[in-house]
């Protein structure tokens, strides 16, 4: 029977087949973690390959631009490399890594600058359907900007629940909150998101 502490959340496994998120079986992941304790960089590279997409996307949700998301994602993996000898497997590796990522993102935002405004993706093009795509892209941009301006805990909860599809318990563990608080934060985050997007659209 495999250790529940190293079990991968299903949606992460599903995302793993896409570029930047290669698959690792549970046994392979466990072996890689063990090898990392012995400072085998090649083993850590396999973990980076497995989780880089998830971590990058999580960071992007927080900071809303590629440059900062890239810096943060790399910083997350550096912190994970330094801390992995102390990883005891009490939570799943992905939960542990997400906790590092969320802390890095919250510290980053506290230290650096307020949420940045994204630049438009490009000039309108004459291709048929482009207008609808632009409208859709514009809405997506407004939603991302609104998420980036939510209060910290609400933003973190929304990102982990909606985009990474973690359970309430996993989010609570990552954020160090009670499950009831996670549920309440999610409700308030959704309400604030709707309000902010509506205000932006006026």
């Amino acid at each position: 029977m495999s250790s529940p502490a190293l079990a991968l959340p299903l949606r992460l496994a599903a995302a793993a087949a896409s570029p930047g998120g290669e698959t690792l079986s549970r046994d392979e992941e466990r072996e890689a973690i063990e090898a990392c304790r012995g400072l085998e960089r090649e083993a850590f590279d396999r973990l980076v390959l497995r989780y880089q997409r998830d971590v990058y996307r999580l960071c992007y949700r927080f900071v809303n631009n590629h440059e900062d998301a890239n810096d943060l994602a790399q910083e997350v993996f550096l912190r994970a490399w330094r801390a992995i000898p102390r990883f005891r497997g009490e939570s799943s590796f992905s939960t542990w890594l997400y906790r590092i990522a969320v802390n890095a993102c919250l510290n980053f935002r506290a230290l650096r600058r307020p949420a940045t405004q994204e630049l438009p993706d490009g000039l309108p093009d004459p291709v048929p359907g482009a207008e609808a795509r632009l409208a859709s892209a514009d809405e997506a941009r407004r939603v991302r900007a609104a998420i980036a301006q939510l209060p910290e805990k609400q933003r973190a909860t929304l990102i982990l629940k909606v985009y990474h599809e973690l359970t309430h318990e996993e989010v609570a563990e990552i954020l160090g909150s009670a499950v009831g608080t996670v549920k309440a934060n999610l409700f308030h985050a959704l309400g604030n998101l709707r309000r902010r997007v509506a205000e932006e659209g006026r």
């Binding site: 960089r41 859709s136 709707r194």
Partner: protein, 179 residues
């Protein structure tokens, strides 16, 4: 009618979860159904905002960059490395105790020519000094293990007198352990 659905239960209901009682209530209560619809709309809105996908080349570049930065990190010992100097010190003590204690062990052959009143042999005849010197000067593996701040460099820094004093105290410890 049962109580209204609590705020914090609405997202679960909107995603098809939640309790049977809350689901039944939301189906029959206009205000709760309306609140549920708002939460569902907000979830739909959130899901429409996907993260722009970077270039496919990005992932490889990012991984290489992480690897390079890890390579630039100060060299670290594995988790068990702190045991190495300790093990070396324990081995040293064991060797010295066994070597010097042989003369006193009931099964050992007495060292000929050593006067009964002498606590220590002459420096030239003392095998424990050779062991200490071997550790201090010649053992590259030990030096590599403790990376310059463990037993090897410490012994290398001792004067002849200090060597002898250390050997004497180790022998004393050995005798104490035997009694």
């Amino acid at each position: 009618m049962t109580r209204h659905v609590p705020d914090e239960s609405l997202p679960d209901l909107a995603e098809g979860g939640g309790s049977e009682a809350d689901r039944a209530h939301a189906g029959a209560c206009g205000p709760c159904a309306s609140r549920l619809a708002e939460v569902r709309a907000a979830l739909d809105l959130a899901r429409r905002a996907d993260v722009p996908e970077p270039s496919p080349l990005y992932w490889d570049a990012m991984r290489r960059s992480v690897g390079r930065r890890i390579g630039e990190e100060p060299r670290r010992r594995p988790g068990w490395a702190w045991l190495a100097p300790l093990a070396a010190a324990a081995a040293l003590v064991a060797v010295v105790v066994l070597t010097s204690g042989r003369a006193h062990a009931p099964w050992a052959t007495p060292v000929p020519g050593l006067p009964a009143w002498s606590a220590l042999p002459d420096a030239e005849d003392d095998p424990s000094l050779a062991v200490l010197e071997g550790f201090a000067a010649g053992d590259d593996d030990l030096a590599a293990l403790d990376e310059g701040d463990g037993v090897g460099p410490f012994l290398a820094s001792l004067s002849d007198e200090d060597y002898r004093a250390l050997a004497e105290s180790l022998r004393g410890a050995g005798k104490g352990g035997e009694s």
